[in-house]
Symmetry: C2
Subunit: 437 residues, 2 copies
């Protein structure tokens, strides 16, 4: 039987693209068997034809003519691996208009332009597959949109940014400072030259929007999330959390509660014996809670050439088999789902970890606890160690004061924080972290 190949045009030949090319070459027969037909890499579009690549491709495959490829009637699937959002949006739209299906790993694109792209694909009867866009090699898109179809998902808690997780792990396990750990992440290629979007929580929030679309059927802009990053975490926070029995992780969370769906990405204290607390280095992890299946937990490599390419190629196999084309229209992505109330930031309920830097003198503790008490915030534990004999640069010694509260709202904590800032005995450098249940 002559089997029609699935003809693929890959746009971009960077880290992930090279991995995809390598897997398509190395596992040619295996993939053909699993897909029922050959996966044929027909065109590879690059910006600079002269750049040396670490993957061997026939020269005839590689081109810098994007339009030529998008117009090529002998391309079935456009694999968008160029990154960025401006051009990528145009490429995906054009591919869809030209009757091609799309596979992408671009979470920023789907987060910003998802409504438009998904809507257009549904209208045109085309398919967008994006397993690689969230948590790299972890099949979380398949789990949420297919394996958990018998569930109403109650919550998602996840480590979705490998860079932040690497930095926090180095601070914990190697005792590094934040800036040393960041520097090392950049040296090892875990962090971009400009790591802003990774460490400020934006990248994790973009990924979470995609999971939220699938799990809760709604499209929420990142601006509605409670997002804070890891850049204010200091070694003393790592050690104090440890003393209290916790590990600090950048947790992306979506949770159905009384006030609606609470969405946040923030550094969070996680009990040491929880799997999320033990997910170290560049690994990602996702903890789901479904009303039928109960807790479900997955972890694996969230980034990197081959792990991400593994997810991309699985999407290509799904396309070749025809599964992706059946799945996509059933995800409800093209149309707005039932509206779901979104909990406001102030309604976010948690215990909180508060680290203040206070003057080491009488009545400071009374002032601080008075402010918290008047806001109805009760204390679960307090750590204040003796001040060091030599107090550095300051005239009067300043010491860290760590407070763990009982459950309260982010609104109450914020209000208290503003009052604390007005105390003369409290210094500016303040950290407030959530505590996972």
């Amino acid at each position: 039987m002559a089997e029609t190949p699935l003809r693929i045009a890959m746009i971009g030949l960077g880290t992930v693209g090279s991995g995809v090319a390598r897997i398509l070459q190395q596992h040619r027969e295996l993939l053909q068997q699993r897909a029922g037909r050959p996966l044929e890499l027909r065109r590879v579009v690059v910006r600079d034809l002269k750049k040396t690549r670490d993957v061997d491709l026939p020269g005839s495959l590689v081109t810098d003519s994007l339009t030529g490829v998008l117009d090529d009637p002998e391309v079935d699937v456009v694999l968008e691996l160029m990154g960025g959002t401006m051009t990528a949006r145009d490429v995906v739209l054009q591919a869809l208009e030209n009757g091609k299906d799309v596979v992408t790993a671009n979470k920023a694109l789907l987060c910003q332009a998802g409504d438009e792209l998904f809507g257009r694909a549904v209208k045109l009867g085309r398919t967008i597959a994006f397993e690689a866009a969230v948590a790299g090699g972890i099949p979380i898109i398949a789990a949420v949109s297919q394996s958990m179809s018998a569930n109403r998902i109650q919550s998602i808690q996840a480590i979705l940014n490998g860079t932040s997780n690497y930095i926090l792990s180095q601070m914990l396990l190697a005792g590094q400072s934040y800036s040393d750990a960041l520097g090392q992440a950049q040296e090892l290629g875990y962090a971009e030259a400009d790591p802003t979007l990774d460490i400020d929580g934006t990248d994790a929030a973009q990924k979470l929007t995609l999971l939220v679309r699938l799990a809760f059927g709604i499209s929420v802009p990142v601006s509605d999330f409670h997002v804070s990053g890891i850049d204010r975490i200091e070694p003393i926070d790592i050690s104090s959390a440890g003393e209290l029995g916790y590990t600090i992780k950048l947790i992306a969370q979506a949770r159905l509660g009384e006030a609606g769906l609470a969405l946040s990405v923030r550094p969070t204290l996680v009990r040491k014996d929880r799997p999320l607390a033990q997910t170290h280095g560049s690994l990602n992890a996702v903890a789901l809670d479904g009303d039928s299946v109960g807790p479900l937990w997955m972890s694996g490599r969230g980034a990197g050439s081959l792990p991400t390419a593994s997810a991309v190629v699985a999407d290509l196999v799904d396309m070749a088999v025809g599964r992706a084309q059946l799945t996509f229209p059933r995800l409800g992505l093209g149309t707005p789902g039932e509206p779901l109330p979104i909990a406001s930031r102030d309604e976010f309920v948690s215990r909180f970890y508060l680290r203040l830097t206070v003057e080491d003198r009488p009545h400071v503790m009374a002032d601080v606890t008075d402010i918290l008490g008047r806001r109805g915030i009760s204390l679960a534990s307090v750590i204040q160690h003796e001040a060091p004999e030599v107090s550095g640069d300051a005239a009067s010694p300043h010491v860290p004061l760590i407070i763990m509260t009982h459950r309260t709202t982010a609104g109450a904590i914020s209000a208290a924080e503003r009052e604390l800032d007005d105390l003369k005995t409290v210094r500016g450098n303040r950290v407030c972290l959530a505590v996972a249940d």
Copy 2:
């Protein structure tokens, strides 16, 4: 648009069946939306019509006429949840012959009669879906057969039997004896009245055969596995393993190595900081290693009414969407795959934990270590605590001697064990456990 329902006949209304019925009722609209058509529970076959059930079904649905249902042209999918293997085989075959697709959670059936049933289904162009047959609510069948399609799987290490894991966890965390923990597991419904297949490793081995079929494309009878159960584990093994930095788990393992594919189910010492060591109670867990994606880890509820039903209903949705029908023929289940050498039991390479009961007198240690040494087995560590002052029933005091070896083969260990049995100073009660890398 009038949507044709997927018409389901469920055979069996036990624990899992009740869960399925409940989910189909409670999530009717959600499922219809996700499946693109209604999931219609058309018939439920029970043995005893008079038995009270804890799920509310219209009386007209329930019948005791198996043949009537299998012959009913208005049934699209037969959901086999009756358990056992004799009748279940006939039911599945008849359903396939009558042009119906099959969903089953019956790993014993698929392990024993898989070649026949899968082969027949492929010939007839029908589909068998069985996500619930392995690890309950964990979508491991989907992960291995779809999400990891870009990988050659290198190894599978898993906790697949909730009963054994519950017992081992109780021994570890609550300090219970083996028999007390088993009794409690039975009281709580985690263990059958006859728990033999759970605690002797058979159940886990049956599940592993299914994963091996999908991951390695071969059908291996359980008799080719190295299977041992947890019934000889004593509290001293739990505590000694702990002293050495390990937790004992019943690990089902398939691993590609130089001697071929090594298949085993055996109590294994797992380093305490590994996720498998921290999977407690009735949870299941699977650690996969793929050549593209690297390590991938999943855990969740491996049994129970709703978690298992969650996997069954996901299969039904896949059937309704048409995904399952596309996937099944691509799994290579109907035809023998490329042959793969199976490592013999004796070739199994591991470090080993050996617990002997020896007389507390001179030269015993020399005798024991001489036997091991002559087999080329070197010792990594030894624990022998002082004998208790009062030595119980024996005339001369006996003490446990714990030996952790360096890497060696199961063949060398077995030969040494036979020689040790001949030593007059060594008692019969001996335990030999593998140690995970």
